[in-house]
């Protein structure tokens, strides 16, 4: 047998370590920080994580369909840039007295174009996703700088303001909307053929090919889906900033990558999943907000957050190694 005995106590500890670290830390924050465990801050955490949650799901699709090797597997770094571009297009169009539906259509077209170019470069020309989408990130940010002339544009469209301020039964409207989006993406990923087939391609290209799946088509679909999440996220980027501000994409990209791969450490299968990505995004937001409300020295938070994430990912890797 290729298996070695049953998992020992140590490996079970390693398995649960990432969750344990986060649980302990959240408990500590709740103890130390003012008001952290209130319903109010729970809503705040969810509300602030919305844009990252959405694009994390996009990245999760690409990783599921491309494999989770960070260098040669599936990755799409251009999603935050797409989100920012869509936000820029909508803001610019509204600022010149255009109507929202046209602005949205233009943004959707731009997002699909980005997704299609990514898909083309990766599946037809055979470029590595990491390189392709990193270049795409730079290019798309460049386009956005042209569209907005690198300026901040205020948006006061009622729909965007509703997304920012609206509440349903005391809950900010963004939360149930994103929850619905997440549910439908979950359905797509785990309850439909195309979703399962995408995961098969990412899990083992050979297995997918021998099962007669169209590998290129499925991988392309994942890039289009990713760009779509960028488009959806742009509304929440606009709502959050009451307009489009330049430079938002860098922080978004960092948080997206961290949250998505952090999510893998939480998943039972130790792979990037939709739920893992969503959970990762929310937890990262919770920890940052926790540090802020505790009054941690701002010059230290980056280091603390970084080491924490490293620790969790390292435990995830250890657990996976133990299983091989």
């Amino acid at each position: 047998m290729a298996e070695h005995g049953s998992p020992g106590r140590l490996s079970r500890l390693v398995d649960t370590a990432p969750l344990l670290i986060f649980a302990l830390l959240l408990a500590y924050i709740a103890f130390e920080a003012h008001n952290f465990f209130s319903l109010l801050s729970f809503k705040l955490i969810l509300n602030q994580s919305l844009p990252v949650v959405i694009i994390c799901m996009g990245l999760a699709f690409v990783v599921m369909a491309g494999g989770d090797d960070v260098v040669s597997g599936g990755i799409d770094l251009s999603i935050p840039a797409t989100a920012v571009l869509c936000a820029g297009i909508i803001a610019q169009w509204l600022a010149t007295n255009g109507s929202l539906p046209v602005a949205v259509a233009l943004a959707a077209g731009a997002a699909l174009l980005v997704g299609a170019i990514n898909a083309l470069l990766v599946t037809r020309i055979g470029m590595t996703p990491l390189l392709t989408t990193l270049s795409m990130f730079v290019a798309v940010v460049g386009v956005n700088n042209v569209v907005t002339s690198s300026r901040r544009i205020n948006v006061s469209d009622p729909v965007i303001l509703w997304l920012r301020d609206g509440q349903i039964a005391g809950v900010p409207v963004g939360i149930p909307i994103v929850a619905l989006i997440a549910l439908s993406f979950y359905h797509l990923a785990h309850r439909t053929r195309i979703g399962l087939n995408m995961q098969a391609v990412g899990g083992s290209r050979d297995a997918a090919e021998t099962s007669g799946l169209d590998v290129k088509k499925l991988q392309s679909a994942s890039f289009i889906l990713a760009a779509t999440t960028g488009f959806i996220a742009s509304f929440f980027v606009l709502a959050r900033g009451s307009g489009s501000s330049p430079g938002v994409e860098n922080n978004l990209m960092l948080e997206m990558v961290l949250a998505t791969f952090l999510g893998a450490a939480f998943s039972g299968r130790r792979v990037v999943t939709l739920w893992g990505a969503v959970l990762g995004a929310v937890l990262v937001a919770a920890i940052s907000i926790g540090f802020k409300s505790m009054g941690v020295n701002v010059f230290w938070t980056g280091l603390i957050k970084g080491s924490l994430i490293l620790a969790v990912v390292a435990f995830g890797a250890l657990a996976q190694r133990g299983r091989r």
């Binding site: 003012h34 901040r152 501000s245 938002v248 907000i289 020295n297 701002v298």
Partner: protein, 323 residues
């Protein structure tokens, strides 16, 4: 000139010590004060932040610091965190339009907001440099430096986004109206916020290749000084000595560049960010002591014209010696 600005610098420092002494009865004992800063990478932001936090602590208050990491959206979001964690007052340093709704929310929750360099209808008070004086002074210095005529390029990303930049650049343009021989090159340039020196360097290199020797006389940075670092780099790389550089804020890094022999960077107006942050904290204490504050508190600026004045300002502002 040197003598004059040294005296001025001394006067500024003396003034600030006097105000601190006069307000000795103030206290923030038992108060939790949120201090939100847009970023801590740049000197100005960091100094204003340090001034505010150290003064809050000196007055016996507890600081809840949050850093936007040079991302205006994160900075805006941070105000929600402060709101939720239930601070007694918020000092908000810089930020663009994204923070306005957050100020409104804080205000309606009964938490007073004190801004630094960000006038807002929802804030109790805004502590800022005398931006009107900065804008007109740098306009006059620049016009003098190019002999009252020539072509000028301007980095002006924030005139419409930030009120203080609107004042500074607007008054700079207002002064230039009286110099019909000066032409502002269109389109105006827009620098990046997060990586300003490097971005400005690239944009300047592009600009220089479009405008050969003798067709451009000055490059001005409309609202701050970080891009000017990249502008000067680009001039040195291309060996262009026909162009002068002017900017605002006068942090130690740009004063150092100005103090170099033959520097193209000829005029600046230095602010006192630490004092500004500290004054904002004092204003919070004054507010809690029942004083009525004016909507704007102006902190004096130090005009810097030429290398010698740069050296003098550098030492009078307490950055060290440049001899």
């Amino acid at each position: 000139m040197t003598f004059k600005s040294s005296i001025l610098g001394l006067a500024v420092v003396a003034l600030s010590t006097m105000t601190a002494q006069a307000d000795e009865g103030l206290s923030l004992e038992g108060k939790r004060i949120g201090v939100a800063v847009v970023g801590t990478q740049h000197f100005w932001d960091r100094e204003a932040f340090n001034g505010a936090t150290s003064t809050v602590e000196k007055l016996g208050g507890e600081v809840v610091p949050v850093d936007g990491g040079r991302d205006n959206q994160v900075h805006a979001d941070n105000h929600d965190v402060l709101l939720t964690s239930g601070v007694d007052a918020v000092i908000s340093i810089l930020g663009d339009g994204a923070v306005e709704p957050k100020f409104e929310a804080l205000k309606s929750a009964g938490i007073p907001v004190f801004t630094v360099d960000h006038p807002s209808p929802h804030a109790v008070n805004n502590t800022t440099s005398d931006n009107y004086y900065m804008g007109t002074t740098i306009g006059r210095y620049m016009a003098d430096a190019i002999g009252g005529e020539g072509k000028v390029a301007v980095f002006n990303a924030f005139e419409n986004a930030l009120r203080i930049c609107g004042i500074r650049t607007g008054l700079w343009k207002y002064v230039l109206q009286d110099y019909p021989g000066i032409e502002i090159i269109q389109p105006e340039l827009a620098e990046e916020f997060a990586n300003a020196p490097e971005d400005a360097r690239k944009q300047t290199l592009d600009l220089l290749s479009q405008y050969p020797e003798g067709t451009i006389d000055a490059i001005h940075v409309g609202c701050w000084d970080q891009p000017a670092i990249g502008v000067v780099q680009a001039l040195e790389e291309t060996g262009r000595t026909d162009i002068i550089v002017t900017a605002l804020d006068g942090g130690p890094d740009t004063l150092e560049i100005m103090a170099e022999d033959g520097s193209p960077f000829v005029a600046n107006v230095a602010q006192q960010p630490n004092l500004i942050g500290s004054t904002a904290a004092m204003n919070v204490a004054r507010h809690f002591a029942g004083e009525t504050l004016l909507p704007q508190t102006y902190v004096d600026v130090v005009p810097v014209n030429g290398a010698e004045e740069a050296k003098a300002a550098y030492s009078s502002l307490g950055y060290g010696s440049l001899e």
